[in-house]
Symmetry: C2
Subunit: 296 residues, 2 copies
């Protein structure tokens, strides 16, 4: 909150009008979210144009109406729904992005592919590494074609999920896949893990839950985990333990109004919601993951 108030002090210093001077922010998801909170509060809302410069920003944080800042020990505990005045997506920003942040953004694309877009999943299987290598700049004809397709499908897929439920009246949300225990891990890791990395770990865990239950066949489960490995995304972390899982689920259930509403894949490009996953089932999935984990 202190950083939001610093941004607001700059609005005061600049002498910002109410509607006719949009604030334009350039940066990654954290910065866009932070300026989003500031602009949604200042004068009860001043217009905000988001210019994401990271892959995660371009496919996730800048899309939709949400803003948020961490508060206390909680991820995005404070924030708003504020429709941006505009969002500028330009993949040339990604040319200077480091590899870890590219992989970080890839995790959100994997998430979307798993729950709703089999073709996107296949594109990542076939060309994910090329996209990272070329930083989405289309250095080769294949890279150019696939970069366009992947970014287009990601953004359109996010919009298709968010638009009918922009204010989240409905709390069963497919895009929450990867965000059930991930946020608690992210806060616990305190900067050691990027957001997308926790998404990947969460995807791996709930893919294992789905496979163990038999709602997802083993082959599809293996394809999801193999894709995460191929993109060099983590599927486990030493801070993830039974205690963190339990506390994460308590918080998630509270945020989802008393039900688990856990999105899990039932195939590649399809998902369902579980509401009866026990602590023991989660710990068992975690042990299973740990036995299979590829050392990183």
């Amino acid at each position: 909150m202190e950083t939001v108030l610093t941004v607001i002090a700059e609005f005061d210093r600049f002498g910002l009008d109410r509607r006719r001077e949009p604030v334009i922010s350039f940066g990654g998801g954290v910065l866009l979210d932070l300026v989003g909170v500031a602009t949604s509060m200042y004068r009860r809302g001043v217009p905000h144009v988001r210019v994401p410069t990271t892959l995660l920003g371009q496919v996730d944080a800048a899309i939709g109406a949400k803003t948020g800042i961490n508060h206390g020990a909680h991820k995005n505990r404070l924030g708003s729904f504020q429709q941006p005045a505009g969002v500028l997506l330009d993949r040339r920003f990604l040319a200077s992005l480091d590899e870890r942040h590219l992989r970080n953004g890839m995790a959100e694309i994997v998430k979307l592919a798993v729950v709703r877009d089999e073709r996107l999943f296949e594109l990542l299987e076939e060309h994910g590494e090329l996209l990272i290598e070329e930083r989405f700049q289309g250095s080769s004809p294949t890279g150019e074609r696939v970069a366009r397709q992947v970014l287009h499908r990601s953004v359109q897929g996010m919009l298709a999920e968010l638009e009918p439920n922009l204010w989240e009246r409905e709390l069963d949300r497919l895009v929450d896949f990867g965000h059930s225990v991930g946020p608690a891990l992210e806060m616990r890791a305190d900067g050691e893990l990027l957001h997308g990395e926790t998404v990947a770990i969460d995807i791996a865990l709930f893919t294992t839950v789905a496979a163990s239950r038999g709602v997802l066949d083993d082959k599809a489960g293996r394809r999801i985990l193999e894709l995460l490995h191929r993109l060099a995304l983590p599927t486990d972390h030493h801070l993830l333990d039974g205690d963190l899982l339990r506390r994460a689920m308590t918080d998630t259930v509270r945020h989802r109004d008393g039900r688990q509403r856990l999105p899990v894949p039932v195939g590649i490009g399809a998902a369902t919601f579980l509401n009866d996953v026990s602590d023991e089932e989660l710990r068992s999935a975690l042990r299973h993951r740990r036995r299979e984990a590829v050392p990183t």
Copy 2:
């Protein structure tokens, strides 16, 4: 903002769910606004039921979608538009309200009467003192009838003004009458003046501007000032000077997106907007008010 964060810490301690547990707040306008800001930020918005216990709360602060807190030297600089889950209006709360706070709420009723409701204005002229004496509790048959009428007309009038423009896309707002230089005076007076008292002073000033220009006839202008006097509301304050007027207008013009949009009465129950009021015209109106001021 510190107080908002204190309220938010209590939400965390309580373990507030997202949608199914509305926060219910009891209090005056400041408290409702403060809890409104907290509930609009927490989890990007949790439901809020407002129970105003002051007259100003019941006819103004609890009506509509606005929340706000002062920040820096600015009135309501931070806030949100958040529709409450419900508003409970019960005039029995007013039985224990002190006289100054009753008069304070009366100022917002006068405002509404001047810009849109001649009948309400007449009721205040005829029975305003009785209402304050009886604290709106209807101790006499006339008091009962008028209390109902006045509260009903006030709330319905506010709703009629706010509903078509709930998000303030339109910045020409009649309900801003009394709120053009008042907010700056309120911040400058730092607790010495209640909100409604600054509204009354602002009404007096801009009534004088309108009468000086001839857009309001002298008789109507006198009726407005006499009503304020009869309700023992202030029409001037020693901290109001040329410098404060100038700075107040700069801030107001910024908040109204580059135009003055000053609501001024053109009769009892009718108003227009001025956009070309000079500093000198305001200072002249202030001098005029000061010459006429009834010593308080």
